[in-house]
Symmetry: C2
Subunit: 213 residues, 2 copies
């Protein structure tokens, strides 16, 4: 094998990183206006100014691309939960943290029409090769890691404030609504603020609900 | 065309009605243990003690069969809402009626694993011929009539008690959770009672939530 001069190698790595960022940014922009299944790899390549082969080479498939994008966002949100200033980060009371977290989730989902639902379906369908390529691990019950983190944090905040409630299930009910068609249609109409407000009503009401008999 | 003797005609009609009931009952029993997509027309026919052709002739397809079953239940629930004793029927305060209605819905969905989700997907996919055969009408936003009734009743009860809240969206959030995978898996494990309890917490908390700023 031919050795490449160091400077060329470095430039190639910089090109690859720039392409990756451009592709993810282009995907994000397309997702603001379309559902994942309406977006082709060709469109992404054209919008990112790279060849179609580059997109396939880096991400394997449309689903691989969506997973990579969602994961990038999810990592950012996970980091914010661990170390950002309150109320999203540590240090605020559980109810305030829950409200901030729900707002953050609606923001992610609102900018990715139908992405959560697509991931949910993919997670419950037969395992796909491209998921393995992405190094994805699924929970015992088939949940996607992103959903798992969202659920475990939501659930933990509910229990911190109300140990008498079924935090695990209540978190599924709150988050599950983000996968339903009527709610996705609402997000497509750009009504993320309206959704966030009603999720806050649900969550704050639930935390103040009378103790179970 | 040959005229049939009246008595024979009447017997044929009675046979048809009995077959229809037997088929729907067999489907219901199968749905208690399986998801709609796991049930074949052959299984239904065998369990109902009729020929496979009879099932196809009456219902057109598996989806036609599911729709007919769901509709039968939905009509029964709609009638109960209109004329059964309170709290499901008229005469009780909105919050009590909402709790009773959510219990009734969980009961229907719990005995029909994944049926609501299947109907939801069907409603948003391209229109299927068998839906037309069944005389289905869809709302402007593609909702199934069953979902539309559930949503409009839930929404009306929320608004009756809390006109300041976004009843339309809150009803979607409450009902949307019934279509999410983690909640469906819970129902498959037979935890309908647990689900009903947590939906009650959500709904009662929401109705008692502080007024929006």
């Amino acid at each position: 094998m031919e050795e490449k001069p160091m400077i060329e190698e470095r430039r190639e790595r910089a090109d690859a990183a720039r392409n990756r960022r451009a592709i993810l940014r282009a995907t994000e922009e397309l997702l603001a206006r379309h559902r994942p299944e309406q977006i082709s790899m060709e469109q992404v390549a054209a919008a990112a100014g790279v060849g179609k082969g580059t997109v396939f080479h880096r991400f394997g498939s449309r689903m691989g691309l969506m997973v990579a994008l969602m994961q990038e966002r999810a990592y950012a949100l996970e980091e914010a939960v661990a170390s950002a200033p309150p109320p999203l980060g540590p240090g605020a009371p559980p109810e305030e943290r829950l409200m901030a977290f729900l707002d953050a989730i609606v923001d992610v989902v609102g900018r990715n029409k139908g992405l959560l639902a697509a991931l949910g379906h993919a997670a419950t369908a037969a395992p796909r090769p491209e998921w393995k390529e992405q190094g994805e691990r699924r929970g015992e019950d088939g949940d996607h890691p992103v959903y798992r983190f969202w659920h475990s944090h939501t659930s933990a905040l509910i229990v911190a404030r109300r140990p008498d409630l079924d935090g695990e299930l209540l978190a599924h009910i709150l988050l599950g609504s983000l996968q339903s068609e009527p709610v996705l249609r609402l997000l497509e109409r750009g009504e993320a603020t309206r959704l966030a407000a009603s999720l806050r009503v649900m969550a704050s009401g639930m935390l103040a609900a009378p103790a179970l008999a």
